[in-house]
Symmetry: C2
Subunit: 330 residues, 2 copies
DNA sequence: CTGAAAGCGCTTACAG
DNA sequence: CTGAAAGCGCTTACAG
């Protein structure tokens, strides 16, 4: 592989001149400049990433930490990841994807070893063990998901409280007065999925204010169980005419359940991504999660902090994307 | 951040002694060894990845190139990726995930700049533009997906030809004599998805030999279209009593179509992952794709080649995983 | 406008 | 058993 020394020799200049000609960081005589560029082209020169990182303290790589749990149904993961990787590349960065169970240890490894210039955390829990590590790290970090303590990091998430209100308002507006909310399974909450109770508590509060009965329950995250759970639930609450689904597995399972029972009068509003709605051909109105957009927002802010000392000094942000209701396909 | 110089100073030894004590690559007096390890621990020392890569020509990072097409339904992508990242980590490697549309350019970038020690290509096309780049690269590469030309790389894939035969045999064994095969959409084939016609041609050949009528058609990859297509197809072929689905969107759509038509007599056999079967609660027998296992196999072989000069000299392999029929859930 | 040199933080022959 | 030194391939003050 050609080094910058080879390029310099071929162009008949010093290595520093070759470097400056390539980077454009100082003015170079037109002739030297041209010879360097031609030599680089001819030799197929690409700078060695490790050497450059060592010299500049910049790797042009972002870390992406994703949590996968075997007992969770995480259909939006690909969209989150694509939002991050595509945006990173647009901004000139590559992405190191880390999926190991010990997220805190992994985070320490990639930050301490200076493999990355910054880090995006996906699937952030209320009391996320990765956060202390991230705050202690020299690189900036951006989160997708709202933790209990947002200090020291930029945070991006859907406004789940507003989502809860929007969902209740929708069914109340359609005239329904007894509703069921199916949340994520309890183990998701126990694991720190604060968005579950943020949506639920806001929905309960709104329902109370509107004089609507709202039964909030935990759902399932696996497929055959989700069907059974919905069936039992509808049996137990025959008076309920509206269903709020903050649970992807339940949303995916519902069509077959209602079809089997002939419950065409049931009104439903979900909370999932547009991609998910299409994949499962769901006919319900829903609050869109927009995982790719959240990933993009996190990366843009992260790169701002990485590249500008001024931006690094700005106060940290918590950006909650407004919950918007998307109509079902007609 | 502490450097190895800091550790050496704190332990009262030279940098080379500190380095050797940490790596264990030569014998060190017990006292010096202990003091180095304690100093490293106390200072929270982690080697700088860029510096180490520069010195050793090893990054301990694997490149993972995934292709995403907006018009493709790629439900197994997460499983492929997890198979790769989890296995890589088990073997001591991190994973650089590259998703940009220009896969050949991206591959050249990460190999030329020496960001990675090896590369896994996902979603390999028959005449994949990334392959010439990979063959020219100094790093070894492993593919998930069988291209037209396997020279210079290790290849892992499901045996799609055998899958086609297994699927026909299954329905023939159940007594069916007129079948329909729904393949991926035509644009997947045009893009180089050779596995589509490998399965189809093998199925046609087997059907011919068994005296079974087999109608092979292209399906859809998007959700509402998949339902319509299946409906029209079943109308057009009223004599067909068995369905082979080499198309995830069609498999996901089929339950609602058959329910709407009361086609309980239809026998179905699919080709998808276990994860997919569960996610969509599919009641059909299927040939399992096992994307995580394919990813794992590719990484293991890749790391073997990276780490052993002897392995690097071995002939390249093409490993086709046998197609096995998985029974539907009872 | 340009070059010689130092330095980034490691590893590893080379000497002793 | 250990240390001084060279070298990996860059970038960037420092001099001229």
């Amino acid at each position: 592989m050609a080094t910058i020394g080879d390029v310099a020799a071929a162009a008949g200049v010093s290595r520093s001149t070759a470097s400056y000609a390539l980077s454009g960081k100082r003015s170079i005589s037109e002739g030297a400049r041209r010879r360097v560029l031609e030599a680089a082209e001819a030799l197929g020169y690409t700078p060695n990433a490790g050497a450059r990182a060592l010299a500049t303290s910049q790797t042009m790589v972002l870390g992406l930490l994703a949590r996968f749990h075997a007992d969770e149904f995480a259909p939006a993961m690909t969209q989150y990841i694509l939002g991050v990787t595509d945006t990173a590349r647009d901004l000139g960065y590559d992405t190191l994807l880390v999926t190991e169970p010990d997220g805190a240890g992994a985070l320490r490894r990639i930050t301490d070893s200076r493999m990355v210039d910054g880090v995006v955390l996906l699937n952030v829990a209320h009391d996320d063990p990765r956060l202390p590590v991230l705050r202690a790290a020299p690189q900036p970090g951006a989160l997708v998901g709202l933790p209990g303590d947002c200090s020291g990091v930029d945070v991006f998430d859907l406004d789940f409280e507003q989502a809860g209100r929007v969902m209740v308002d929708r069914l109340h507006g359609l005239g329904h007065r007894e509703l069921i909310l199916v949340s994520q399974p309890e183990h998701v909450v126990e694991r720190g999925g604060a968005y579950v109770w943020r949506l639920r508590d806001a929905a309960l509060e709104r329902a109370r204010r509107l004089g609507v009965r709202l039964h909030a329950v935990y759902g399932e995250s696996r497929r055959p169980a989700a069907e059974r759970m919905l069936g039992a639930l509808l049996d137990a609450r025959p008076g309920a005419t509206g269903l709020l689904l903050d649970n992807e597995a339940a949303a995916a399972a519902l069509p077959s359940v209602t079809r089997a029972r002939g419950l065409e009068g049931l009104s439903v509003v979900g909370r999932y991504s547009a991609e998910f709605a299409e994949t499962f051909a769901l006919p319900y109105a829903y609050v869109e999660l927009a995982p790719d957009r959240l990933g993009e927002m996190a990366v843009r802010q992260l790169v701002r902090r990485i590249e500008s000392a001024q931006a690094r000094a700005e106060p940290f942000v918590v950006r909650l994307v407004p919950a918007e209701l998307t109509s079902p396909p007609s």
